[in-house]
């Protein structure tokens, strides 16, 4: 008993192989109790497969899955203390809303009056009071989504799994449900693991995000770290917008970009213990870049580029420049600032302490 409170979910080098292709590759992850974790990644990267290995619909080819500190390999889905919200909701069409909510409790042999009480409470929680006797086919998209959420929550699972729960909703409803989901998570204190390929959703909802690519876990970290300190080039590129410059690390923190007249000096934290001579990529976030005729004093990273495109989107204007070697650089700056003329040459500049390094 080294750990007083076991993690809600532990994945230990879990892999899933389908014939010749590997859907999930050696993923290890500890999900603490009460956390809200999202699994983020491009389509086909193995997010659903990972989730379904936790819920028991897919058995891992190798590795171990622990729920509440106990290995659940060999346990059927109905023997695991997980509940899932399906992307298509999978509400039983032959049952009313209340009967759908009651299903999990009936399976757990909860007493009748207790079921009635908890169903009523759940209807209230998911804002569906008075809808208990409706058929599920009569529910709108958002309402059906809430029923699906309630049906999973009502059994108070150790882990609530959500596979693209908001994927079928329109943007406005999506935003509203994101807020509700967050509130419910905070109020109930359950562990949530959600899958999404919408990075904004992941960033707003979760305490920690697992970024996957090609079946492998690239980084598992807080949203802020993911953005400010991406572990890999993929994460830097996938989460938020990034300008990536291939470079080589010199001695004393000197960095020279390849094919660009750009030299920076980075501190040891930024270097992250890399040896000099290492091939790296500079991650420069667009919002750290200023565009103008000259660079501010403090901005020691600077390149000249021809302004190619200026796009206004409300408070921010996006400025795209073409570098001498033909690549593009993107800057976001306040729309209140004067914009350079299209076609002119401007200086794109940023402070070197805002730069992050990833392995090339």
């Amino acid at each position: 008993m080294t750990e007083p409170v076991p993690n809600a979910v532990e994945l230990r080098a879990v892999s899933k192989v389908y014939g010749a292709s590997t859907a999930v590759r050696e993923v290890s992850m500890d999900i603490a109790r009460g956390a809200f974790v999202t699994i983020l990644g491009p389509s086909g990267c193995g997010k659903s497969t990972l989730l379904r290995m936790i819920s028991g619909f897919v058995s891992p080819s190798s590795g171990d899955v622990l729920i509440d500190g106990v290995s659940v390999l060999g346990a059927a889905p109905y023997e695991r203390d997980t509940a899932m919200v399906f992307q298509d909701y999978a509400l039983f069409p032959h049952r009313t809303v209340a009967q759908n909510l009651a299903f999990g409790l009936r399976m757990r042999k909860v007493a009748k009056d207790e079921i009635a009480r908890r169903v009523e409470a759940m209807l209230e929680l998911v804002n569906l009071k008075g809808f208990g006797d409706r058929r599920v086919s009569q529910m709108s998209g958002g309402q059906a989504q809430r029923v699906a959420l309630g049906r999973a929550l009502i059994v108070r699972p150790a882990v609530l799994l959500l596979d693209e729960p908001l994927g079928a909703l329109d943007l406005k409803l999506r935003k509203q449900m994101q807020a509700e989901l967050k509130t419910i998570h905070r109020d109930l204190g359950l562990t949530f693991v959600a899958v999404t390929h919408d990075q904004e959703e992941a960033l707003t909802l979760s305490d920690r995000i697992a970024v996957m690519n090609g079946g492998a876990l690239e980084q598992f970290d807080t949203p802020e770290n993911l953005y400010r300190r991406p572990a890999t080039r993929f994460v830097a590129d996938f989460v938020g917008n990034a300008n990536l410059f291939d470079a080589r690390l010199g001695s004393d923190g000197r960095v020279e970009a390849q094919g660009l007249p750009l030299t920076l000096f980075l501190n040891p934290v930024q270097r992250g213990g890399r040896q000099s001579g290492a091939a790296i990529a500079l991650v420069v976030r667009p919002e750290t870049i200023a565009v103008g005729a000259t660079a501010p004093e403090s901005h020691d990273g600077r390149v000249e580029a021809q302004v190619e495109e200026i796009m206004f989107s409300g408070a921010v204007q996006q400025i795209v420049g073409r570098l001498p070697d033909g690549r593009r650089i993107t800057a976001h700056q306040s729309a209140a600032l004067p914009a350079p003329e299209r076609g002119t040459t401007a200086v794109f500049s940023w402070p070197s302490q805002s730069v992050w390094l990833v392995d090339a």
Binding site: G74, A75, A76, E79
Partner: protein, 296 residues
């Protein structure tokens, strides 16, 4: 802890056995009542019979003997001809209706389709009985024809002839042909047809260059089933064919049940089986394509 693991392991082994348990009864059943009987017929066809007694052997004498009988050749030929004629007739008769249901019937298509198939479910014996009422010398068609002055004397060739067998078979298999045709034709998108017409193809050219080739899978699959069923059909020729010109199935039944020469009858049955499976094998590619496209 280990007890719980044991239970979990036992349950997971039980779960792993579920698929086999679901499939096994049907598979065993089909082996006993389908594979074994066919194997028995195959085996029997190389035995000998002597004064109504079966003698185990391995000889192809039965095959040689049956092909030495001209009556067998005649029956086989009649069966193949009839089945082929019925197939072509069904295709020609069924195509327009399948097209109508698939493309023109709108919201009635489901009902019309069901209405085509419904007679297929009526017992074959009753359907044939009805055709006897229609085709007999004093039957409905002859009496109508006489009443309308179309003929003087009743047309006697209508019943108890290959003609009546063919009519009966067409009637029996027409619904069967409409189904795959309907499936194939409803898979042809209207915009493909529109596109052809937009490119100034005449309706006839559109039909022959777009619609017909695209409904080929349905045509072939329907033809195969029609032909295969027509070859082996027994009731219709037995009740409508009259017994002067026997079809192959009748000869087989006769050999088995009246002459009681089972090995020889079994050899004929094997010939029939070979014909059936050869037709199926030849068209397998098309059957696959049709079932792939309709998701049957």
């Amino acid at each position: 802890m280990s007890a719980a693991r044991d239970i979990a392991r036992r349950r997971s082994r039980l779960r792993a056995a579920l698929p086999a348990a679901g499939l096994l009864p049907l598979v065993l059943w089909q082996i006993v009542f389908f594979v074994v009987p066919v194997a028995l017929i195959l085996g029997l066809s190389v035995w000998r019979s002597q004064s109504y007694r079966l003698i185990p052997a391995f000889t192809f004498d039965n095959y040689i003997a049956i092909f030495a009988r001209p009556a067998i050749w005649r029956a086989l030929l009649l069966s193949v001809e009839t089945a082929a004629f019925v197939t072509v007739a069904c295709a020609v008769l069924a195509y327009p209706v399948a097209y109508f249901i698939a493309k023109k019937a709108g919201r009635w298509r489901g009902l019309l389709l069901v209405a085509v198939i419904a007679p297929f479910w009526i017992s074959i014996v009753m359907r044939v009985a009805a055709w006897r009422l229609l085709l007999g010398e004093r039957g409905v068609i002859n009496q109508m024809a006489i009443a309308l002055g179309l003929t003087e004397a009743p047309m006697s060739f209508l019943l108890y002839s290959p003609v009546s067998t063919a009519i009966g078979l067409i009637y029996a298999y027409l619904p069967l042909y409409v189904l795959p045709l309907y499936a194939a034709i409803s898979n042809i998108h209207d915009n493909w047809i529109d596109a052809a017409m937009d490119l100034n193809a005449s309706p006839t050219r559109t039909f022959f260059e777009v619609i017909l080739p695209l409904s080929a899978p349905g045509l072939v699959v329907g033809a195969v089933f029609c032909f295969v069923f027509g070859l082996g059909e027994f009731v219709t020729p037995a009740l409508l064919g009259g017994g002067k010109q026997l079809m192959f199935s009748q000869v087989i039944q006769d050999e088995f049940q009246r002459r009681l020469d089972w090995p020889s009858g079994a050899a004929m049955a094997v010939v029939l089986l070979v014909l059936v499976f050869a037709s199926l094998a030849l068209s397998m590619k098309w059957i696959r394509r049709a079932s792939g496209e309709t998701g049957l």
